[in-house]
Symmetry: D2
Subunit: 355 residues, 4 copies
Amino acid sequence: MNDTVQTAVLGVTGYAGAELARLLLHHPRLKGTPPIFAGRVDAKDEARGGVPLAEIHPELADSHGSGNIRMQPFSWDLLTNLDVKVLFLATPHEQSREWVPEALARGLRVIDLSGAWRLNESANRAVYGFDDEDSEVAAKTQAIAVYGLPELHRKQIATARLVANPGCYATSIILAVRPLVAAGLVDLSHGIIADSKSGVSGAGKAPTAKTHFMYAADNLSAYSVFSHRHTGELLEQIGVDQSEIIFTPHLLPIPRGILSTIYVRFNGAQTSESISRVYRDFFADSPMVRLYDKTLPQIQYSVRKNYADIGFHLAADGRRAVIVSCLDNLLKGASSQAVQNLNVMLGYSEAEGLE
Amino acid sequence: MNDTVQTAVLGVTGYAGAELARLLLHHPRLKGTPPIFAGRVDAKDEARGGVPLAEIHPELADSHGSGNIRMQPFSWDLLTNLDVKVLFLATPHEQSREWVPEALARGLRVIDLSGAWRLNESANRAVYGFDDEDSEVAAKTQAIAVYGLPELHRKQIATARLVANPGCYATSIILAVRPLVAAGLVDLSHGIIADSKSGVSGAGKAPTAKTHFMYAADNLSAYSVFSHRHTGELLEQIGVDQSEIIFTPHLLPIPRGILSTIYVRFNGAQTSESISRVYRDFFADSPMVRLYDKTLPQIQYSVRKNYADIGFHLAADGRRAVIVSCLDNLLKGASSQAVQNLNVMLGYSEAEGLE
Amino acid sequence: MNDTVQTAVLGVTGYAGAELARLLLHHPRLKGTPPIFAGRVDAKDEARGGVPLAEIHPELADSHGSGNIRMQPFSWDLLTNLDVKVLFLATPHEQSREWVPEALARGLRVIDLSGAWRLNESANRAVYGFDDEDSEVAAKTQAIAVYGLPELHRKQIATARLVANPGCYATSIILAVRPLVAAGLVDLSHGIIADSKSGVSGAGKAPTAKTHFMYAADNLSAYSVFSHRHTGELLEQIGVDQSEIIFTPHLLPIPRGILSTIYVRFNGAQTSESISRVYRDFFADSPMVRLYDKTLPQIQYSVRKNYADIGFHLAADGRRAVIVSCLDNLLKGASSQAVQNLNVMLGYSEAEGLE
Amino acid sequence: MNDTVQTAVLGVTGYAGAELARLLLHHPRLKGTPPIFAGRVDAKDEARGGVPLAEIHPELADSHGSGNIRMQPFSWDLLTNLDVKVLFLATPHEQSREWVPEALARGLRVIDLSGAWRLNESANRAVYGFDDEDSEVAAKTQAIAVYGLPELHRKQIATARLVANPGCYATSIILAVRPLVAAGLVDLSHGIIADSKSGVSGAGKAPTAKTHFMYAADNLSAYSVFSHRHTGELLEQIGVDQSEIIFTPHLLPIPRGILSTIYVRFNGAQTSESISRVYRDFFADSPMVRLYDKTLPQIQYSVRKNYADIGFHLAADGRRAVIVSCLDNLLKGASSQAVQNLNVMLGYSEAEGLE
């Protein structure tokens, strides 16, 4: 296939980076031109240039294959020389904030997995504390960024130069709630509650007091109550304000997976069938969403899968629903969503390399 | 201490039974007259008469002591001959429903750990499907049953002949919500949401598809949505109706512990201090409740402890709160609560043997 | 590809059956003629005819695909009518013992995942307690059975009518030890020690006291000391007698994966390089074995992979080695090994569909 | 009890320190004079002077009690002023190496939980890389250090000024093997194999790549093969040389507990009874060792207990045994062993405060 597009991944040392590498290496449309992998741009990772991917991510090793792929020390010239068209950034927020404008200036299309460009409202961005908030470049970059949730913004993503890949929690909640809100069913005055639980990989690869096995194992803890950074994504993408939603994340003692239990109240009585129809219509052309009919999603059915799984139960009064939304935080919550965005950007089938 | 009261435990083979045995054996006021232990009354457990407790619960073994205590085949004569005053039942609902009237008729005071006698309203009891609902004996027994949550019903428990020990989920939610509702702060028209997560011991000792390691490990699942049996306890003890509360239990991949994340809306704006004061006042004389000031409870701080732990965060608008309530489902959610009830019934210090 | 061979799987409801279904459905050489799936042949599973695979194994569901594949009620006529050439049995030992002769009589080639036909010596089979030990049919069937470890018996497997797929523990130990014994390096008078640890899926899908989450979680236990059924495979395939090896299995609190720590003493002093060379030579044409050079295998690198992973450390005296051997008990320890055997039997590349 | 001895703990911030604090606070003979707690002597911990213990170890909090105990900034004067008689050090090896001589010079008796003074042979100490190996003070200190395994050295501990509390792995192995070696039963020419598995708390509280939940969970890994620091303790206390024992530690995905599977060969055929008798005689006066008759110890029976648990199975030939030895690495492997040593040093009952 001589029309394969050259891609590159910057920041391949984390959990999402590893999954992204795996997906891209097996992507049927990219086999002719495997992606370039580069470490994060700091002294330590630069020194890792030449290091086999499998040394950092032993689970990527196979007997004769991808284990031999090596990380390359990053430089803009490298990307130019190799004619890279699409750059994935799996870098910290601050670094993405700094590098994306440069990448765009060099003509690259960018899929950024960080939170750097997801939020349109500066009030919502405040939680990140970016120090470029007043710069013209930042403003222009933000203006062209598209929120990379294909189920909501497929058309804009197709032509986007910068796709801001959504947060993992945000993906699980927005996909479950937006269809109902868009259909005008939800009584927002009563407030939406999203009680979310995530595996430890969501906390990143850095060893900290909270990622220590002794802290996370046999435990459950709520954190960032009323203050989690993904809240802004919920506000902007669901279309509600602070008084209309509460989002509470919890740390689960499992490696991966998110389950969000979401509580909504309807303006009028609904039936299970009427709610199902809203979801089915909304996701009619969305191959990466699985709707559950009689049962509810569970984390075990969603991990290591590229789907968002959604199910619900309706109260006897037809006025209240409990929605359960599950996904793998490293896949539909990060890397497979990035590949889905790539597919949309390049005109491939949306599920290419994801089923 | 020659005034020690003779107690007995019927149904000591389950998880809660094991914890109850441990607590009673170490209870300072009961050392003079250690409790009698008997199996559940079926052929299999009867045959276990004479079996050392430590054979069923190896974790109860010590080098020279309690491991030698043996289970006894149950008979009413046994209890009479040994002059038992208080009988604990850690038996299935159906069995408690059948045996409690008999025990009361024989003059015993009873602490029943099952759900058999917790619910005053027959509508709420329907979920248990008792087949004695029309009997006079059942009605009279129910009429004298006291809901065994000392923080709410200390006075009635002190003189009760029958104490219905609360459900584990119910304890975690009622203690967190009742003080605020009692103070008239909660806007019930907006509904209370209780999103609860429990370790696997809550599902009992019987091996089932859901207690299989392969089902529970690395997983999280919601279950009994809008239909869990503890809901009736919430309605009766908090003082709300079905339309005013939603309770969703989840199965956590940990052995023990419950964390309930509870969402309430207030009638008017509150401050953290005003909410704290309500809790402090309500629990001023309650040694088994720990209030958290700056941090939130976590399951790791509550397991293997006899306390209910409660903390909260208030939204910036002062109108909404997220309350986190933790306890050990086998202790404050079952056996240590039963001992706390015993202490109240016998006039001991409420925390005797529990700190 | 019009030369695709029709296969069928009998007994697809267990863990290994699910993995086998997944592998076969994605096998590039079988795509033209997807396999037939049937439940175990008992009343309960027969009733499951028509049940979608995804209902029994929700993790097999995808949005538009394999989830729709249905189990079929088993009959020999079904296999004949569909022109099945190779039959996989993922059934209990007793059932495989009964059904394999019938399948062979009907001209099918069989890959049996149970322990029914693995052992040549009747003394070693005693542990299974088969009641057909004196029958002529059983004797003839056993005589043509080939032990399905391709790394040892590739040639015989290629033409075998009956392949007895090895035990999971046995695979992890034999692959690590046989090369050294075959090279004459091991001082058998000192005895080989194989200390193995397995995840809970190895204990099967039936809920039992030992597969209960409360038993397995936060625990480690040795079991079947000096008496595990896989011991006979070790004796026959490594070529040692009872006095020359000890095998101790342990139950790990993880879903899947086996790690065997193996202790051998050499006849003379060795170097790391000399040992490495023995392994490299032995596995030169074995794509499903990965040899570790500087590091040791860990379970996390082997799970959800189709490889056996082997590494070792040599004592300073060159006379003793600790060998670490890892694999996924459901894959190289069961289903992917079965597919590897299929590949060998049909003349495909040995790693087809496994990388 | 006005003869209570004043104790102090230096280095109370780690896992073993927390357990030690808990045990000492509940020790019946120390209630009159609760111990002094001090942080490790570095800037960070010094700053923690005044911090409530419960802030560092929330699991130590209770509603009205020990949670209020505060850490004190350490100084020698503090110990003198408070008339401390026995000092526990739960500090890093290097710090214990430096501070113990000073403590002894000030007349304190010391129980050191680190590895600093456990090893008599300088060759065995080499692995610690102490830079005081040539100093006279170090030599004199080492000369009076007693290895703090009461089951072996009760008499010397009783009068010791410095007790070197054993390593957790070492305790589990020495107690299982020394009785058999002391009885002359073990054929050392065949070598002893100790395959040990430990929970993550054994790796300490510092967040590292290996204590990260994502590394440890769902995993098992061997480490420090042929090179673990506890090996020297095995050599000195069992009485064997390097060629006669192999010790392989593994990291288990559980919070706490050690299980050692130990393989020995006997000089002549034994019976289960003859082996049991050796153990019973050896541990006749050892309340903290539990011998298992028919079953084997498991980690779940030993965690949160102060015992070492030992069981075994004999091969049919009577010549080989598999011994299983379990303990809680933070208790009998560290803090409860330290309390047991204290009891011996002060002439209390050896199990005081430990049952």
